[in-house]
Amino acid sequence: MQEIQTFNRFQRTFHMHYLHFMFVFFLTGLPQVAPHAFRWLLYFFWIPFTWFSPETTYLSGGMKVAMVFHRLAGLGLIVYAIPFALREIKNMASWQIWPEGGMAEGIRELLKHYIGFKPANFGKYNIGQKFLAWTTIVTTAIMIVTGCILMFKDAFEPNTWRWARFFHDVGFFIFLVILPIHIYMALHPLNRKGYRAMFETGTFPEEYVKTHHPKWWGKLQRKL
């Protein structure tokens, strides 16, 4: 059976590492966004650190370590996101996340697939995925900009920190709402082929594209 490339290697590794970065961001960020509920997480950051600094407590030492990890992960993400963004912008013409077919039709097809459990008339991405993609792009940009302001506080006024903290929180809650849905949908049996494409092969079987992504198939045919 012929396979059609869905994600290239760079997209798949970037997705994988964004997942790792997110893991670090959440673990180290939760004690800052909701200190009273998630302080216990700090204990795990503190334990190895006590060897260097025995006079700290799990709160002071753990929080400092968490903040350092948070910033290092941020730095890592920025360094990694720049070449990824440049390459994606270069290939903008082949993006499949532009709107197609209108909102009402998009939602109708989404319901057909996820409530009716029938193959729907999707492009490469359905309307939910397109929404997720744009939200992730915009929110990542917000997080990077506000994160840099909070990381280099001394260069800004306290009022700027307050706005940065506000938008950093807005971004966090956007991710907190959309990521569980994204992860659930990725693990759902309806999307086995999508999971396989992202984490294993990078490809869809041709038959699957014909039946489940007819709009995209049409585009691919016209291109050939």
Partner: protein, 260 residues
């Protein structure tokens, strides 16, 4: 222990700032007490952040009606203390008697409290990487003494007692001034001043017309602080809704197969 409060009476204040001087002395005595240097050392060090109550000079109004305004800056000891809610290291403790205490040894210098404070009170010292603010001499209070600034005040403009005593005294003074000066006086902080802060354990008596000139905002709102509280509430609700949707769809999916 019942709730305690402080009263600052703008009308009685003679602007000698003995309170500020005494505060610096008391905090240096604490350093010596805690074995962080002998008396000479702690007095020789320049530590402006150790004066937790201090004047800020500015000019109010525009020419020709401009006048110098001296704001007395100190911690308001908010009921809901946004700084204590935000501090990730739990360095800020709200005592059961209402005093908001910043424990220096637990502070990690992240400055989340500076962001959280609508009154710009916490003072960050970059050299030590720590933040300092008034803790209303809680060690003295617990030992049955008044805070140091109250002891120093020669005009009885600072008054310390239980919350009931202080509010009674504040209203009594305001009424007295209104009667004699024919001007409206306000007891700032007796009631809630904003959603983020609640009422204040440091109430101020002053002429209502001038409160804003002295940086006492009748509604001590600061857009970003209230907005951050709101987004944190709304965010968790939305997260709950998304989690409920996921669980609902999962239960719906059970036993279903994709139809070709």
């Amino acid at each position: 222990m019942t709730r305690v409060s402080m009263l600052y009476d703008m009308q009685a204040c003679v602007r000698c700032f003995a309170c500020s001087v005494q505060c610096g002395i008391e905090n240096r005595a604490r350093l010596a007490r805690d074995g962080r240097g002998n008396t000479e050392k702690v007095l020789a060090d320049r530590r402006p952040e150790l004066r937790y109550i201090f004047p800020i000079l500015r000019v109010g109004g525009t020419f020709p009606t401009a006048m110098p305004v001296t704001e007395l800056r100190h911690c308001m000891h908010c009921e809901n203390a946004p700084c204590a809610r935000r501090c990730p290291a739990a360095a800020i403790e709200v005592k059961p008697y209402g005093v908001v205490v910043l424990h220096e040894e637990k502070c990690i210098g992240c400055r989340a409290c500076l962001e959280a404070c609508p009154f710009d009170v916490p003072n960050f010292n970059a050299k030590f990487g720590k933040t300092y603010k008034c803790f209303m001499c809680y060690d003295r209070i617990e030992a049955g003494l008044s805070p140091a600034c109250v002891e120093a005040c020669l005009a009885k403009a600072l008054y310390f007692g239980t919350r009931e005593e202080v509010l009674e005294e504040a209203y009594r003074r305001a009424e007295n001034y209104e009667k004699h000066l024919g001007e409206k006086f306000q007891v700032y902080g007796a009631e809630k001043v904003s959603d983020a802060t609640g009422y204040l354990h440091w109430v101020t008596v002053g002429p209502a017309a001038y409160l804003e000139d002295y940086a006492l905002r009748p509604g001590a709102e600061r857009g970003q602080i209230e907005a951050l509280d709101a987004v944190r509430t709304i965010g968790w609700v939305l997260f709950g809704a998304s989690a409920a949707g996921i669980i609902g769809h999962f239960l719906y999916s059970l036993g279903k197969e994709e139809q070709e």
